[in-house]
Structure formats: structure tokens, C-alpha cells
């Protein structure tokens, strides 16, 4: 049945919806519970929350289930859901140093201030596909090492690499004394030249692959705006949500969420830059999504150094949103036969013009 000229378009849609639902929900395997998704596919849940710009693990699990694992679909479900939710308030500003880190690494120094915590990561695990996933592997006992005595609640203070560099007077000081309202990309579209907050929030909910691709293309591809950085901080942990109590005016913690935070140290070597200094790029996103935060920090400092000379910022602001890019790409599946008919007509007109026959007359 031709989908565009189908009579009973509604019937066609409803059949399609029923088919999806039956095959998805009627699959003979055990039903997928949301706690299985949040518990056993946590990194997928983290990624989707980051791209949706909504911290809601339970709803994200439902969205992934409903979307049969399609990340963009799940993100769409969550963002559309978010559109129906009223904004009842704005949380207080929090300091990134309030994070309780589960993981912290500092590639720039062997012994940074405060501990390096490898944490929950497969970075240094051999990628061997385990073909018997249900088998419980015996716990590896590190030889001659006892687990650290301290619990995570009493982490020694971690001095940020940017602060260390600043103390060593090796860092460009871009701190501002004013406190402008951050740009709200959910209320106003950002376009270049945009304030840094617009750039950062766009990247914070950009599609992970798009940011990684932008970064890689710039390092090794034809664009060449970026250099490799040295990472100063890679942190993952929980951040508090606090709001101001309407009566007491005191800050009240009402929940928490997890973020990945990255500071990327850039070696300044441009003609008009101070060769004695470093500069910093910043990345922050929901959940544990390290490649995204690292790409974000790299692209942040690249944009700053680029200073609107190229179209890097335009590229980031306008082409990294997953829903915009996928939606527009897939819209090609919609009927386009009016345009196509017009194209055929123009091709015939060009052919006729070339044959130097009398031009097609315009319609009165």
C-alpha cells in the first residue's frame, strides 16, 4: 500500500503502531523491567539522560524500553515529556567542588593534590568478550595490597589542576567578576557569536557521537582547528540539587544527580597568545559519559582560541543536537513528490532551452 497516497492514512498508522507494540511487548523473552535497565545498562541510561537534558533514571528506562533501545528515540521521548512538565523553580548554583567523587584521574601530574581514584572504569581492562555472561567470576584479589582504609566520605581535599596552575602563575585568568545569567538554550536558540554558557549547555546535551566526531574530525580531519590537550581533571560523582527555601531562605538539598566533569589544559602556542601560559577548556554532562565530557572540554577551549575566525562555533551550536540532526535526516522519508515533480519539470525546461526551442510559457 503506497503510504503517501494511501486512503485511510489513519488506519495505516494504527496498524503500524499495533505491529510495533505487539512485537515489542509480546516478545517471548522475560519482560524487561525498568530496574534491569537502570541496574544493568546504567551507562546507556546515563548517556540518554545527558542527551535529553533530563535527570530521570526511571523514566529513561521506560523510554529505552519503549524505544526498543534506539537512543535517539528514547531521547526524543524524554525531551517531549519534558516539554509537558511545568517549571516550578530554579535550583541554586552549586560549586563543582561539592561533588562527591567516585572516580578522579589527573593525567597532567603523577601526584596531584588529593587522590587519584580509578573507580568504576574498564579503561585498563582487557576487552575480552565474555561468552558466559551469567557465570560469576571470582573476585580478583590484588596481591599484597589491602583496600584503602578511608571510605569515600573522607576523601582528602582534591586540589583542582586549574588552581594548581593558577598558583604557579601558568594559567590565563579568564575568571569574571560579574555574574551574568546563563544563556537558556531551552528558551532561546543560540547562534554565533554566543556566550560561553550557550556553547557549554549546547554541548552538555549534544549527541555523544556528534561531539566525538567533531573532535576527531578537527584533530585529524580537514578542519584542523584543534590540538590535543592534556587533561587536568576527569571526575565522576554525585552533585547535590539545592533550592532556596521560600520561607527560611536557606538552601535545602532536595536530591542529587551524577555528572562527569573534565578540565582540559591547552598549551597556548598561537602567534597572538602568551606562550608562557596554559588555558583551560571545561566539560560537564550528566551521568558517567567520559568521552563526551572530554570532547566537550576540548571543543570548549578550541572555540575560545578560534575566536570566531572559523565556523567551529557555528558547527557546534547548530549541528551537534541529536534530535535536530536525526530528525532532519530522517525527514527525507516523508513524501517529497511535489518537489520531485517540480524538479523533473525544470530538467525538461533546461533540456528544451538547450535545444533552443521556444521557452515554456508561464501560466497566466
Amino acid at each position: 500500500m503506497g503510504y503517501a497516497a494511501a486512503r485511510g492514512g489513519l488506519a495505516a498508522i494504527e496498524f503500524a503502531e499495533n505491529l510495533v507494540q505487539e512485537l515489542r511487548d509480546g516478545h517471548p523473552s522475560s519482560p524487561l523491567e525498568t530496574d534491569q535497565v537502570t541496574g544493568r545498562l546504567r551507562l546507556l541510561v546515563d548517556r540518554v539522560m545527558g542527551e535529553a537534558g533530563l535527570w530521570a533514571p526511571e523514566f529513561t528506562a521506560q523510554a529505552l524500553r519503549q524505544a526498543e533501545g534506539d537512543v535517539i528515540e528514547a531521547v526524543h521521548l524524554l525531551r517531549a515529556f519534558k516539554s509537558t512538565l511545568p517549571r516550578i523553580g530554579i535550583s541554586d548554583v552549586v560549586n563543582a567542588d561539592d561533588m562527591i567523587p567516585e572516580r578522579r584521574i589527573v593525567p597532567a601530574f603523577r601526584e596531584p593534590g588529593g587522590p587519584q581514584i580509578l573507580g568504576r572504569s574498564t579503561d585498563y581492562t582487557a576487552r575480552m568478550l565474555s561468552t558466559t555472561p551469567r557465570e560469576t567470576k571470582p573476585k580478583v584479589q590484588p596481591a599484597g595490597v589491602t583496600p584503602a582504609e578511608e571510605s569515600l566520605d573522607v576523601i582528602p581535599p582534591m586540589q583542582r589542576m586549574s588552581d594548581v596552575l593558577r598558583d604557579m602563575q601558568l594559567l590565563v585568568d579568564r575568571r569574571r567578576t560579574d555574574d551574568p545569567e546563563p544563556f537558556d538554550i531551552t528558551r532561546m536558540p543560540a547562534k554565533p557569536p554566543a556566550p560561553r554558557s550557550a556553547r557549554l549547555s549546547t554541548m552538555a546535551r549534544a549527541e555523544t557521537g556528534a561531539l566525538v566526531g567533531q573532535w576527531y574530525r578537527n584533530i585529524l580531519g580537514p578542519d584542523g582547528y584543534l590540538h590535543e590537550v592534556t587533561l587536568g581533571e576527569v571526575r565522576h560523582g554525585a552533585m547535590p540539587i539545592t533550592v532556596t527555601h521560600p520561607v527560611t531562605r536557606n538552601p535545602v538539598k532536595i536530591g542529587e544527580y551524577r555528572v562527569t566533569e573534565v578540565e582540559a589544559i591547552e598549551d597556548l602556542d598561537g602567534i597572538d597568545e602568551d606562550r608562557t601560559l596554559f588555558d583551560i577548556g571545561y566539560g560537564l554532562c550528566f551521568g558517567q559519559n567520559e568521552r563526551k565530557a572530554i570532547a566537550m572540554a576540548n571543543l570548549d577551549i578550541a572555540c575560545h582560541r578560534d575566536g570566531q575566525r572559523s565556523e567551529l562555533e557555528q558547527s557546534i551550536l547548530m549541528t551537534t543536537d541529536g534530535l535536530d540532526s536525526s530528525g532532519f535526516l530522517e525527514h527525507l522519508k516523508l513524501p517529497h513528490y511535489v518537489t520531485f515533480r517540480s524538479m523533473i519539470e525544470r530538467k525538461i525546461a533546461v533540456r528544451q532551452a538547450r535545444l533552443q526551442t521556444s521557452p515554456t510559457e508561464s501560466k497566466p
Binding site: 492514512g9 536558540p189 535536530d324 530528525g327
Partner: protein
């Protein structure tokens, strides 16, 4: 007195009238009111995520949802067809969240949301046409830098567009713009007319109805008020050409006076793009 979040925010998942919350609607409405006073200018707005994907009519949908009231009647078409599946999906979203009447007859509608066509039936001051916009920037093909695009519109400097049209004519013998022909609106802004056929372009000029344009993905709206000049960009000695049909007739109703689309094959078969118009002609 303790309040719960539900008490403050309202029950969860209760869908507001016309899907959007009031603040979103007001924001879109403010943008539309500016747009009407600056015909052809692309007004940025905080485009919300909709249940339809970006590129699939989310902008047109936001306009319809922001303007619709309980007494409106909605018609939604895609390529001129009320039964196109995307049109059906959009229409049911609008009616299910508002309870309003739907129709396929243009003269019964008060709001017509359309992708890529203007209905064949005449519309008047009690109609609002909402066009879905894939790319709101008419100069996109000739300039990629956004700051430069902004400057061109701000200064009314469309010289690059004129050069491009001239080169097209010289290279090809005719201007080869297909649908979405660029037009000068109210003698000021060059505007993307959306991929409507050239057939429909003259019907925007000094129209009796208001046309609103929604680009959800690119987050802009624009407008052409009624009785406004809409002039396709062309040269004095190169008359604007609509699609030629070479005497083709609709195989269903026999019409030669409507925009026809083709089913290619050994025997070329044409039919009206506006299916409701065609059906009515056949059943009268």
C-alpha cells in the same frame, strides 16, 4: 501547611490544552505578533520538543497549537493530501489535545496546516495558513556563515542571491529553482517560501489570508500578512514560470486548472495534488 510537588505543579502527566504549557504558548504568540509586523523576517523563538520529530513539522505544529482555540476547525495536508500519514499524525495530535473539529474541506477550516502546498480553494480573512518550514533561510545555498547571513538580511544586501540567479540563468538557459522559490516580501526581506511549488507562489501575493511559517528545528517563525507584496526574484526580461503541465489533466477529475502530480510510467498518469479539491469536483 505542607505542600507536595504534585500540589504545586499539578498532577503529573496531565496534558494541557493543545499540548503546550501556557508559558510556551505565550512565547510563541509573542514571536508571531512580532513576525506579523515585520513581514518576511525570521523571528527566533524557544522551539519546544514536540511529539513529532524535528524536520517533520514540529514548527508548524507549535504554531497551530499556540494559536488554536475551541472554536477552530483544523485541516492538515502534506503534499496537498489530507490522508498523507504525517498529516494524519499531526492532525490527530491537534484534535486529541484540543477536542476541536477536523475537516478536509478548506472552506470549513479556520486553520490549515500544510507541508509543501497551498490548498487550491480560495482562502480568506477567516483562514490562517500555517506552513511547515524545513529550512527557513532562503540564502542558505549561497552563504553558509550565519553571521554573514544575518548581515545580509539586516542590510537588505541580497546581491549574492541575484548573482546566483543570474549565473543559473546563464548556465542553464532558465532559472532552475524548483519549489520554495525565493521571494521578496513587502519589498524588504527575501523569504524562504517553503517547498511549495512555483504554482502556488503567485497565490501568496496580496492574499486575503494570513500565512504563518514555522521552523521548529531551526527555531524561527515568520509571517506574511494578507494584502502584502510577495514578489518572486527574477529579472525584468525573465518572466517567472510556474510548473508547465503541457495539457495534462487529472486522470480522476479531468482538471487542468490545479497543480498536478505525476505517476511516472509508460503511460504518464497525472492527478490533482489537492486530493480534497479533486474528490469534491468528482462528487459534485
Amino acid at each position: 501547611m505542607n505542600s507536595t510537588v504534585d500540589e504545586i505543579a499539578g498532577p503529573p502527566h496531565s496534558v494541557p490544552f493543545a499540548l503546550l504549557d501556557e508559558e510556551s504558548k505565550r512565547e510563541i504568540r509573542r514571536a508571531l505578533l512580532q513576525a506579523v509586523c515585520i513581514p518576511g523576517f525570521q523571528v527566533p523563538f524557544g522551539s519546544r520538543e514536540m511529539p513529532v520529530a524535528r524536520g517533520w513539522g514540529s514548527g508548524g505544529l507549535q504554531i497551530s497549537l499556540a494559536i488554536v482555540g475551541v472554536n477552530d476547525t483544523i485541516k492538515v495536508i502534506d503534499q496537498g493530501d489530507d490522508e498523507g500519514v504525517n498529516a494524519v499524525n499531526l492532525r490527530r495530535l491537534i484534535t486529541s489535545s484540543t477536542g476541536i473539529e477536523e475537516t478536509s474541506e478548506t472552506d470549513e477550516a479556520t486553520i490549515v496546516q500544510s507541508r509543501h502546498r497551498i490548498p487550491e480553494d480560495a482562502m480568506a480573512s477567516d483562514h490562517i495558513l500555517v506552513l511547515q518550514v524545513p529550512v527557513p533561510e532562503p540564502l542558505r545555498g549561497i552563504e553558509r556563515n550565519m553571521k554573514e547571513l544575518e548581515r545580509m538580511h539586516a542590510e537588505g544586501d541580497y546581491s549574492k542571491m541575484w548573482v546566483s540567479l543570474y549565473e543559473d540563468k546563464v548556465r542553464n538557459g532558465v532559472i532552475t529553482q524548483t519549489t520554495g522559490y525565493p521571494c521578496l516580501v513587502a519589498q524588504r526581506y527575501v523569504t524562504a517560501t517553503t517547498p511549495i511549488p512555483r504554482w502556488d507562489i503567485p497565490r501568496l501575493h496580496q492574499a486575503e489570508f494570513l500565512t504563518l511559517f514555522g521552523a521548529g528545528r531551526e527555531k524561527r517563525v515568520y509571517a506574511i500578512p494578507p494584502f502584502t507584496d510577495v514578489e518572486p526574484l527574477t529579472f525584468e526580461d525573465v518572466p517567472f514560470e510556474v510548473e508547465a503541465s503541457n495539457g495534462a489533466k487529472c486522470r480522476l477529475c479531468g482538471s487542468e486548472e490545479t497543480f498536478l502530480v505525476e505517476t511516472p510510467g509508460s503511460e504518464s498518469r497525472w492527478s490533482c495534488s489537492d486530493t480534497a479539491w479533486c474528490r469534491r469536483k468528482r462528487t459534485k
